[in-house]
């Protein structure tokens, strides 16, 4: 049976283009309708797996619609998050922000359903450019600079990806986006992996994430926290599963992110570091590559989008109402923002993996896969990080914002309140889904790509393990909490190299190069000009005495000879001259005849 194929990304793009035309009372229903239509389209497609939207472009076959179980689960959660994010941002009048967000979602959906590198690259870049506008929409100087850094880093990643697949095309003649040969990786395999992993914020290519997400607008960050990294996780699953190096990178990432999260003072930057840490689980899962690990990576990406979206929505609510996002300027807000507190607690506990919450049923799959594959160090490291996650997002963050010392200025305290109805509704949907996924596991587990993998998170041993870790992490926090109090600092990271690298370039231009230029000028004045004068004096002398001498000398010589000849030969009598001339001619004639 053939079905009509409507690409979900197309609905978002057309919807975004028409958005400025829809005004007044129609705006809000329209903004709800378009993501909903996209979501319905995604569900409809998931009932009809297959390959759609194949076009011939020059010598290449472009495939826009590969619908299988893997693209289905990612398409589902992206479209769902688009609905939640749009509801969250409904009160914002600035239509450019909504258009950028929808183009961004379209880029993500397009990349997920793409089955060849050219299509993937097209949507990949659409994501990068659209999301940059979500940062710039904040319209202050810091956001502008962060946006430029973000787009430059992503352009670099895009170029590496482009180089990778072009080299692969040259070597194999194949443009299809499928599992790469990771057992014996070629140079282009590495390039493709690096290009994809930049978007997943794998160290050392991760600094753009906390930098950009903390500077974006409130709704911009809610969208951004969901799409870029998880689309990258999808592409890594599709192309690089079982690539050993990703286990190491994933675990470094998980630990690195949590250490920085503990040091961080900026709420949204802290959440950004949490993303780095949590995506580390997924990347490690992709590296392990077994059916359980891949299912775990997908499940964790699904759960992560919802709880991280919820956390960013709560942080955005605090930013929107108080205008503050530093822990040193917040505190004691439970009295003013009780609803936001509950949603942030739900998000924080879900990311920490509390039983009955979404993180518990997804994260544990990856840890279990590590233990089952006998990579014990990885299993223990990821368990350590889950204790750190609870510490950072489940304890420290809510404690410092809603309880703890009240560092709010009077103005902040006056302004603080729970946000508008649409923001609360979006958070309520997110919060409900976090609990629903954790409590009713078949909903998520039936969507996972590898069927036939059995996993039961609610065994008594696993429950006891998790509850022990969380309880004693809480005890550790209680005892050592004075060491994790926020400070008015920022933490140096890999972005130091390009931020200071840019400065080093400026400095090189301003200082040594400028000095060299000045010195050259002075040297020229001091030495060059006098040299030039001496040289020209020499040439002038040479010209006068040498060249002119030769020329004039020749002339003088010819004149002198001429005069002598004249004195000897021309005596003024014509007959003598004729005589000499005829004699000379006769001698020549005789010599000619004779000889």
């Amino acid at each position: 049976m053939t079905i009509s194929f409507m690409h979900p990304a197309l609905i978002m793009i057309v919807g975004a283009l028409l958005l400025p035309l829809v005004r007044g009372p129609f705006r809000k229903p329209y903004m709800f309708l378009i993501p909903l239509l996209t979501f319905i389209d995604v569900i409809y497609l998931s009932q009809h797996p297959g390959t759609y939207g194949v076009f011939q472009f020059m010598n290449w076959e472009l495939t826009f619609g590969r619908v299988d179980r893997l693209s289905m689960i990612f398409g589902f959660i992206m479209a769902l998050m688009a609905i939640i994010g749009t509801i969250y941002g409904m009160h914002v009048e600035d239509e450019w922000q909504h258009m950028a967000a929808w183009f961004y979602v379209a880029g993500s959906l397009g990349a997920i359903y793409a089955a060849d590198y050219i299509t993937l690259f097209l949507f990949w870049e659409m994501m990068a450019f659209a999301s940059t506008f979500l940062i710039w929409a904040r319209k202050d100087e810091e956001a502008l600079a962060a946006g430029y850094r973000y787009i430059l880093v992503h352009t670099f990643g895009g170029v590496v990806l482009l180089l990778g697949f072009v080299l692969r095309y040259q070597a194999t003649g194949d443009l299809s986006f499928d599992q790469l040969n990771v057992q014996s990786p070629e140079f282009y395999t590495w390039l493709i992996m690096i290009g994809l992993m930049l978007n997943a914020a794998v160290p050392p290519l991760h600094s753009w994430l906390p930098d950009a997400y903390s500077k974006a607008t409130a709704i911009g960050a809610v969208f951004m926290c969901a799409f870029t990294t998880k689309t990258a996780v999808y592409t890594l699953i599709r192309s690089c599963s079982g690539f050993d190096v990703l286990i190491y990178l994933g675990i470094i990432m998980a630990i690195y992110g949590i250490i920085y999260a503990i040091m961080e003072n900026d709420v949204r930057k802290l959440l950004g570091w949490e993303i780095v840490s949590q995506v580390g689980y997924m990347v490690a899962g992709v590296g392990i590559g077994t059916s359980l690990a891949i299912n775990g990576a997908c499940a964790h990406a699904f759960a992560h989008i919802l709880y991280k979206g919820l956390l960013f929505m709560a942080a955005g609510a605090i930013l929107t109402t108080t205008g503050r996002q530093k822990l040193t300027e917040l505190g004691g807000l439970y009295k003013k923002m009780p609803a936001t507190m509950i949603f942030m607690l739900i998000g924080g506990l879900a990311v920490s993996g509390l039983p009955l919450m979404s993180g518990f049923v997804s994260k544990s799959m990856i840890i279990a896969a590590a233990f089952e594959s006998h990579i014990l160090w990885a299993g223990f490291a990821l368990t350590l990080v889950s204790a750190g996650t609870f510490l950072a997002a489940g304890l420290r963050l809510p404690y410092l914002i809603f309880f703890g010392d009240n560092n709010c200025s009077e103005e902040t305290w006056e302004k603080a309140s729970d946000p508008s109805w649409n923001m609360q509704l979006a958070m309520a949907i997110g919060g409900f889904l976090c609990i629903f996924l954790g409590s009713y596991t078949p909903f998520l587990y039936n969507m996972l790509p590898n069927t036939g993998v059995v996993f039961h998170p609610y065994g008594s041993y696993h429950l006891s393990e998790t509850i022990q870790i969380m309880a004693f992490t809480a005890l550790g926090f209680f005892m050592l909490r004075k060491y994790v109090m926020p400070q008015n600092t920022i933490s140096l990271d890999m972005d130091w190299f390009y931020r200071m690298g840019g400065r080093a370039f400026y400095w090189t231009v301003e200082n040594p190069l400028q000095w060299f230029d000045n010195a050259l000028g002075k040297f020229y004045k001091a030495v060059g000009i006098s040299c030039l004068m001496t040289t020209s004096a020499f040439w002038s002398w040479f010209d006068w005495n040498g060249i002119d001498g030769v020329v004039d000398g020749t002339a003088r010589c010819v004149r002198a000879i001429g005069r002598r000849v004249t004195i000897v030969l021309q005596r003024g009598q014509i007959q003598q001259t004729i005589y000499y001339t005829v004699s000379f001619a006769a001698v020549i004639l005789v010599a000619y005849v004779w000889l």
């Binding site: 949590i258 250490i259 920085y260 503990i262 040091m263 439970y334 009295k335 009780p338 507190m341 509950i342 233990f371 014990l376 299993g379 368990t383 350590l384 204790a387 750190g388 510490l391 065994g459 008594s460 041993y461 696993h462 006891s464 393990e465 509850i467 022990q468 870790i469 969380m470 309880a471 004693f472 992490t473 809480a474 005890l475 550790g476 926090f477 050592l480 060491y483 994790v484 400070q487 008015n488 600092t489 920022i490 933490s491 140096l492 990271d493 931020r499």
Partner: protein, 83 residues
Amino acid sequence: MIVNLIDYLRDRLKTVILCCYGIMAFIVFWSLSVDTSHAHTWAEKMIPGFWSLFGLVSCAIVIMVARWFGKSGIQVREDYYDN
């Protein structure tokens, strides 16, 4: 309602803390009776309350490493990049 509940608990902080200690003791006690046949390594079977210890040690490690790392020159003043 929630605000009142939190205020109520904050007024009786000592009792709340004692209750938490009680819950922790119960959790450790429960863990001793749990079937360990699903354990991944021998350490989990041999050390009673292994994961409690693991949680506490992990938490201390993460806090101390972050503190040491921050003090080693990674945490700098906020206007570091602005000069």
